[in-house]
Subunit: 354 residues, 2 copies
């Protein structure tokens, strides 16, 4: 594997020995530092963007006439690409649809699909992935409008990766920074299934259970919440790479509020709990791709909960806590026997989980 | 390198032994067949898209209110990532800006940047790439609005790859299918520099010359053409992976016209000619990323040529031929001693050139 083959440069030959580590790709504080210091340091944000690169939200918001255009991108490098409950195609479409939806853009106007595949990869597998993408697009009413295909040499890439970018229109933008004290914090489903089942699969652990990823597009579900409460939905977030703990910390930090969570109210299945314990993994700190976190104004919370639970993808929705005035930028977990800060890990327990 | 590790499937174990080959990623007929038969087979296009997946154009066009939103994506896997005249960062921004611009969207509203990097990659190289992206964005007045970073294990990816997607607004869409008979065909610059210089670098060939990639964003140049002629610019295309020959064949096929090209009028530098001969490469069939092909109504051709040549990035612009009523879907090359069809190759001479 070559790094830089340009003989005219010696920038990598000097004293700068810093190297990328796996934790830099895990979505936590290590990645945030890398992005802030290296990847985004010299970019200037457009004057008219409502939510931009510096916000490090689930997507950007760019005005197009009177419309709020949400733009998002994610490269999916999940290993293995086929896993219980889904595959990289369903993950890629769901991931991008959900990034749009949690910004308020449940109306998906277009997805892009950019596949990079290793030479010698089975065409049949690529067909399965494409079929899965198409089926998930149909489920989300989200069209792929353009794409790209690249092939790398055998040994230059491990299998297949898929980048999906997307654009959608948000009537009401729901950024990470939208929470106010007393807003109710809701999760739409039990947490941890995707990450725990994937790592269990990777570790070759056998289950006596049906534990599998719950990866799914959520724009229809979140549209129901928005239709019910409009601007009463103040913030939404996709608790992906750093799990629920990461999402809650980001919401608290960007909104300048504290968040108080009642641990017993957070839905976690017994399969996820048990397998997580076996693997030494905290279900609050592992990636999801079929769950959203919402902040809702107190007056709208009951109606939103009802609307979510009436939707087939929201039957497990639960109010798990609220934004508070104290502990700004932090998440307080009420465990039932006391309070502790729920911290955002520096990095994920495993790479290539989404 | 693992392919599919899901033990629950045996779809790859049966008789279907088809494998991805390098030619499938090269942008030619082999890739088109793969995309049509495998990757895009089950996608349905949105009813309101003006240019969509099935058109396989440089980008899609989605209406947002009264605006034509152009959406495009490309993953850049170029090897080496630093090369004479540019690097993967400048290439990624230019490639996406140019895909938007040749659809008519010279007003770039947002780019996304999704970097996938191998563990152990030098951070200093990533900084160089990010700096180059930022500088190219400033040159093109094209903001990166959101991004993604993933890290793969050491040995799971060869170095670094960058996906850039983009959105822009087109007042007048210039699709591949826009040519009419008698439209003048213009190239904005000499062809072949990017591909020939990159392959020469990769082969370790020494030059006594300054041959280097001319990778650059062209939205400012193409805006000058559009400002001059408006709808008189009927079609534009980025002659990237399959070179000028590929772009002209696509224009002819999609527009349902023939194209007649005078070989002597196509600007090719003597360095590119000489090095191409040494490498056995045809400058007409190799990737560019700093050149555009335009179709212009005959009455507007002179004004457009003047406007292009008045721009610092268009001083070499030349009218190289015209669309004709005969030879529909094909490109006729007048070599000066006779005519022959300029064919679109099935695949590029080398992988990872863009």
């Amino acid at each position: 594997m070559s790094d830089v083959t340009d003989p005219s440069t010696d920038e990598t030959e000097g004293e700068d020995e810093r190297r990328i580590e796996l934790k830099h790709g895990a979505g936590g504080t290590a990645m945030r530092d890398l992005v802030n210091e290296t990847l985004a340091a010299n970019f200037s944000d457009p004057a008219d963007a409502l939510v931009c690169l510096a916000d490090m939200d689930d997507g950007a918001v760019v005005p197009i006439g009177d419309a709020n255009l949400v733009v998002t991108t994610d490269t999916h490098v999940i290993d293995p690409p086929f896993f219980p409950g889904g595959d990289i195609g369903r993950l890629a479409v769901s991931g991008t649809v959900n990034d749009l939806a949690v910004m308020g853009a449940t109306d998906v106007r277009g997805l892009t699909s950019a596949v990079v595949v290793e030479a010698n990869y089975p065409v049949a597998n690529l067909e399965r992935i494409a079929d899965s993408m198409a089926a998930t697009c149909a489920e989300a009413d989200a069209p792929v409008v353009t794409g790209d295909t690249k092939v790398m040499g055998n040994g230059e890439l491990d299998g297949v990766i898929v980048n999906t970018a997307g654009v959608g229109i948000a009537e009401h933008v729901t950024p990470d920074a939208g929470l106010s004290p007393n807003d109710v914090v809701i999760v739409t489903d039990s947490v941890g299934e995707h990450g725990i089942s994937l790592l269990a699969e990777r570790e070759g652990i056998e289950f006596g259970s049906d534990l599998e990823s719950d990866v799914k597009p959520l724009n229809g579900l979140l549209a129901a919440a928005l239709e019910t409460a409009g601007e009463g939905v103040t913030a939404m977030k996709d608790p992906t790479r750093m799990g629920l703990a990461g999402a809650l910390n980001e919401l608290a930090r960007k909104s300048g509020v504290g968040i108080e969570i009642r641990e017993e109210r957070v839905p976690v299945t017994s399969d996820v709990k048990g397998t997580g314990e076996m693997l030494g993994l905290d279900p609050f700190q592992i990636a999801n791709e079929g769950v959203a976190v919402l902040g809702v104004a107190p007056t709208a919370a009951e109606d939103v909960l009802t609307a979510l639970r009436d939707h087939p993808k929201g039957t497990n929705a639960a109010a798990i806590g609220k934004a508070i005035d104290d502990h700004r930028g932090r998440v307080v977990l009420d465990t039932g026997i006391g309070n502790r800060y729920l911290r955002e890990p520096a990095s994920e327990p495993a790479p290539r989980i989404c």
